[in-house]
């Protein structure tokens, strides 16, 4: 199970792309796609290279500048990353 210390990145088969029709970021993987909300899109972009979950959360917390509680951001990030993990779309790296 992914936690704050997990170091991860998107699996090779995943492509992040701006959907010109909806203006939203989408994650594409074999024969499927996921439309991303703003938080998910930012997390996915940060997962382009290996990072720890804690680092991703810290970046989003800094960007939110107090507008959203840090605990809620962490919860959202973990939920999204666990959903990707369930689909086999993440690579977990050695810490």
């Amino acid at each position: 199970m992914i936690d704050r210390t997990t170091r991860l990145s998107l699996a090779r088969q995943v492509r992040l792309k701006l959907d010109p029709r909806s203006g939203k970021q989408v994650l594409l993987y074999p024969e499927k796609g996921l439309a991303l909300n703003d938080t998910a899109a930012r997390v996915a972009a940060l997962c382009g290279e290996p990072r720890t979950v804690g680092e991703i959360v810290a970046r989003l917390v800094a960007a939110a500048d107090g507008a959203v509680p840090a605990a809620r951001i962490e919860q959202e990030v973990l939920a999204f990353l666990r959903a990707l993990e369930d689909r086999g779309l993440l690579v977990v790296h050695a810490p």
Partner: protein, 377 residues
């Protein structure tokens, strides 16, 4: 966000938009699978679209909102210009999936396809048993498939294994799971035969008993739970045993677009068979894909709910199953606008019940009619 904005967004998300282009590059194929989704009468088809035609189709598809392309057939590897087609699909920024039998195995060519931008490969496996494979496909090519799978993984490409299930192989789901694990597949699709086209012609021999379907489903569910996060395991039930129709193509002309080898644009593989729509289809050589999607008579014929008869039109399920499969209604009743007989609420559900009852009686004497190309040379 205001309620009105939310409503507008929900409506937009629900609006017809093709996400996936199914590009049938050719009907040529080394296999003769008795459940092939290609048309029964292949001889009437004209010459295959050229490389440049497909490149234009990919550009027009991307402009229409398509995000993924499935390069399929027949066997797409028989196209000598497959590398150029993959490059063209990627040039239009489409996520590019190759749907192949893996024959012939050619690691060097696969490397060229990956270099051209191929994103993923779906390999069909007819059976883990050589006699079973030869029975259903006319030949057994497991060695070539294993070599293709190994080359795919060596290139770092995600591999999907696809097995079409029927009476002859449905007892071997655990073997298919083990094979997919051994080959390092990211996905395993266990899809029961859809009884249209060649499969309908062979239904007596192919439709499994309910007990066999339930046992396969149990094995697939066990594998799904065990392999969660490692390998995705999909199991598609046969609608003949489901009592509710499948959400065919996620709704007519709603999410998918098919282009046949000779350039006819269709909302699904089988739609070209519907007699009443015979003159409703356009060719991408004559009309842009955007025009066809939005205005084509065949695409509009069953889009939305206006066409629905009772009991569909007032049924709560109509936004989930979109009224089932029009091609199945046509194939079984000769009327594509009728309620899909797979639905227990359909006036002619008795047809499906009768086929199911025959499937319980084992074994069937019906011989298989293998897919053959006629008059294509």
């Amino acid at each position: 966000m205001s309620e009105k904005q939310k409503e507008a967004e929900a409506e937009q998300e629900d609006a017809p938009r093709p996400y996936t282009l199914i590009a049938e590059l050719t009907y040529r194929c080394p296999l003769s699978c008795a459940y092939c989704s290609n048309p029964l009468e292949l001889g009437r088809h004209d010459a295959e679209l050229a490389t440049g035609d497909w490149a234009r189709v990919f550009r027009e598809a991307a402009a229409l909102g398509v995000l993924q392309v499935n390069l399929t057939g027949g066997e797409p590897l028989v196209r000598g210009d497959l590398e150029a087609l993959v490059a063209a699909a990627r040039a239009s920024d489409l996520y590019t999936n190759l749907i192949t039998s893996g024959i012939p195995a050619d690691a060097e060519r696969l490397a060229r396809l990956v270099a051209a931008g191929l994103d993923s490969l779906q390999l069909s496996v007819q059976d883990s048993d050589p006699h079973g494979a030869a029975w259903i496909a006319g030949r057994n090519d497991m060695d070539a498939k294993l070599a293709t799978a190994a080359a795919t993984r060596a290139l770092g490409l995600p591999l999907t294994l696809n097995v079409v299930l029927h009476r002859g192989n449905i007892a071997r789901v655990e073997d298919f799971v083990a094979l997919a694990e051994r080959l390092g597949a990211a996905r395993l699709e266990l899809a029961n035969t859809q009884y249209l086209g060649w499969a309908l012609a062979n239904r007596e021999a192919l439709l499994p008993s309910r007990a066999a379907v339930e046992e396969a489903r149990r094995a697939a569910a066990e594998a799904r739970a065990r392999l969660r996060g490692k390998m995705e395991v999909l199991f598609v039930r046969p609608d003949y045993h489901a009592d509710r129709p499948r959400a065919c193509m996620d709704g007519w002309a709603r999410r998918y677009l098919v282009v046949t080898p000779d350039g006819v644009a269709l909302p699904c593989h089988q739609a070209g068979e519907i007699a009443a729509l015979a003159s409703s289809w356009d060719n991408v050589r004559d009309r842009s894909l955007g025009d066809i999607w939005n205005e084509g008579a065949g695409f509009r014929a069953f889009r939305g709910e206006a066409w629905m008869p009772a009991p569909c039109r007032t049924c709560d399920e109509r936004t989930t199953d979109f009224g089932g499969c029009r091609c199945q209604a046509f194939a079984l009743l000769g009327d594509a606008a009728a309620t899909d007989p797979a639905c227990a609420l359909a006036p002619r559900h008795d047809l499906v019940v009768a086929a199911r009852a025959r499937a319980e009686a084992a074994p069937p004497a019906a011989p298989l009619r293998l897919r053959r190309l006629r008059a294509l040379s």
